[in-house]
Symmetry: C2
Subunit: 432 residues, 2 copies
Amino acid sequence: MSDPTRIRDVRMRGFQERVDVACVLKMLDDRLQPLPHESIALHEAAGRVLAEDIISEIDIPPFNRAAMDGYALKGEETFGAGTYNPLEFAIVGEAYPGRACDVEVAPGQAVRIMTGAPMPKGADAVVPAELAEERQGKVAVVEAVPPGKHVGHIGEDIACGDVVLPAYRVLRPQDVAILAAIGAAPVRVIRRPVVNILVTGDELLPCGSKPTNHHIVDSNSVMLEALVRRDGGIPEKAPIIPDRVEAIREAIALTAGDVVLISGGSSVGKEDHAPRIIAKMGELAVHGVAMRPASPAGLGFLDRRPVFLLPGNPVSCLSAYDLFAGRAIRILGGRDRNLPYVAVTLPLARKIVSAVGRLDYVRVRISQGQVEPLATSGASILSSTTKADGFVLVPRDSEGKAEGDEVRVFLYDQPYAWSFKASGSPSENAML
Amino acid sequence: MSDPTRIRDVRMRGFQERVDVACVLKMLDDRLQPLPHESIALHEAAGRVLAEDIISEIDIPPFNRAAMDGYALKGEETFGAGTYNPLEFAIVGEAYPGRACDVEVAPGQAVRIMTGAPMPKGADAVVPAELAEERQGKVAVVEAVPPGKHVGHIGEDIACGDVVLPAYRVLRPQDVAILAAIGAAPVRVIRRPVVNILVTGDELLPCGSKPTNHHIVDSNSVMLEALVRRDGGIPEKAPIIPDRVEAIREAIALTAGDVVLISGGSSVGKEDHAPRIIAKMGELAVHGVAMRPASPAGLGFLDRRPVFLLPGNPVSCLSAYDLFAGRAIRILGGRDRNLPYVAVTLPLARKIVSAVGRLDYVRVRISQGQVEPLATSGASILSSTTKADGFVLVPRDSEGKAEGDEVRVFLYDQPYAWSFKASGSPSENAML
């Protein structure tokens, strides 16, 4: 627990010194690590993070099987077959998937076989149905197939002992299919962090209300819920908390999640109680960050649970979440800790002015392959984040960027409709 | 209903002619359109597709409000203030968020104000707490603030009548926040398509089983479930269907979703009943597509519900889903119909051979900025899709691609850890 007498009261005084963004990131990286494992069913596994290397205990396929519908025979015997020289084989049986085939294929014989069926003894190749004509118990083959052709061999997909998927893999749909195929169910994944979302403010009405008089509608909690889900966390939202020390302290004491987000009450106003409460209950590690917006953001710890103080202004809330809280949630969940946005590098259409000593989060639009900073950049202008295509981070040691400078834009949307060309300019991503 | 006597029985004969991929895509585009709307609560809205333009009925902010914690006063009166010339104002009241402030600020006066509080009458600017020192009922201001400074003005974020978000927008977290702020709840979105997943095969054990003897574990259904969810659909999985005409017909008749996926039984084997069943129940529009893998894929319609015949081979199933079924689900859901993968254009490390007249779906790895086709490319080799970083589509009019040719790679994973540079080569995406 921090010594409360050593916590400088910034209320109605302002911050003396702000912490560098890089220091906050380093603190998160140093102090947080992935959560323990849990076992889940395969139909819930896509998008989850694998907790351990998966080693196959079986071969796939587990037996030699037909890779085509057609006729199983000795490949060697088809040599010389052609449209003008069809070679005939006597059909001595049928092989279906899921059933053992008892027939043994002798010279001059073939077995009618379906894709996936176990190869009958004596056969080493499959003539596809397209290259054969069946008539009166015989099949005429019009093209040679070498031994081994159109046969799926034991272990050719996965061999027993293979590391099929590595730990920390974010499971793709096809990864889950492989886990099913090798019988690796249930599967051990990293537990999803539970994230408590607390919102304070006497001026706030619950999400879903109509704004009235001097009250506005809480919009941060519903945004934070969506962001937490995007980053693999499980959001748990509490009712809106009034701006009273006891109410805030009680709400924080009731949290049981892995991460706590507190929106509002983090700044230097008279009713900004959250920082001092955190300092008294645990540790207030950071209060005031060298960035714009979101400079009143803070970071504390209750035991080892990180607590993020997110400014109530919606753009500040978004940027402080993305840079700090989201990173913590991604680390705890075993995911890539970097920003979960695709980034593209493009030239600036207009200059960006920034102050040395702080990081700027600048909302931008992309137009004709150029990056245009949005004019309205106030921390309270939420529509700047809905009109923008993404954002640029101007680092603390930069005075800004000149027109024509290449900047990296983190794109808010999944840029499915775009393709990234060698020219650097995204272009329409028609499939064909 | 198609005339069943006109349906050529391809079983154990093979396809005579395969339909171009582009024709199948055009058929989907021509015949499908977004589903009707539904109303949902805001906390469910992120990632959903907006059904209509959202027009704000209010101003945001709805009143002039403080944008900083500090002191509200007449900005003009601070002109000339400086560290060596602090100007004093009498504090005549306090303004808090969510409460009306009855005090009127007269010349020489100031009101202590918190971020978000309504501006008191007579005041037109806020001096931030950092630029003021409060003592004995007075506040000394050490920097001039012009009128309007640090005040959020009525409608500066959103004006009444503004189109806040356009129809067909995939809602971002911040979009949901804006909907909350303007009181636009519930919100009308496009209904998510319900997708029935049917899997046929006597050789299949249910997902979660251990493979035994000549039985393998159904892996397609769990993969398809994940793919359907990714594309915004609601998967509904039926129990595994035996390879019997009546069982398959019955399972299809029981489907009530917007899309039906049938995995297995689509090819030219003796037990591939699904195409003829679809032809009898409705319309078999396509059977056999000029692509590799997945050439036995098919497309039918039951009334206006699309039915996709997906080959049982897992790679075929994946590629036929992605190219055709996924597109249908995305169109019905009002989403971008193109492939939901980020694409990057890079040079080939080794040539890709392809046949003119068919599209090839080639799994590739990216290594040192170059694209390497995977050697194992059989349709049954599922591990090729887990080892690959993505795939290249070689169009039907191409004989392949030479070493060094630039190709477009559709990336299986969200490439968060990469940045796309003007050089075209993805690089590490460290944030700072």
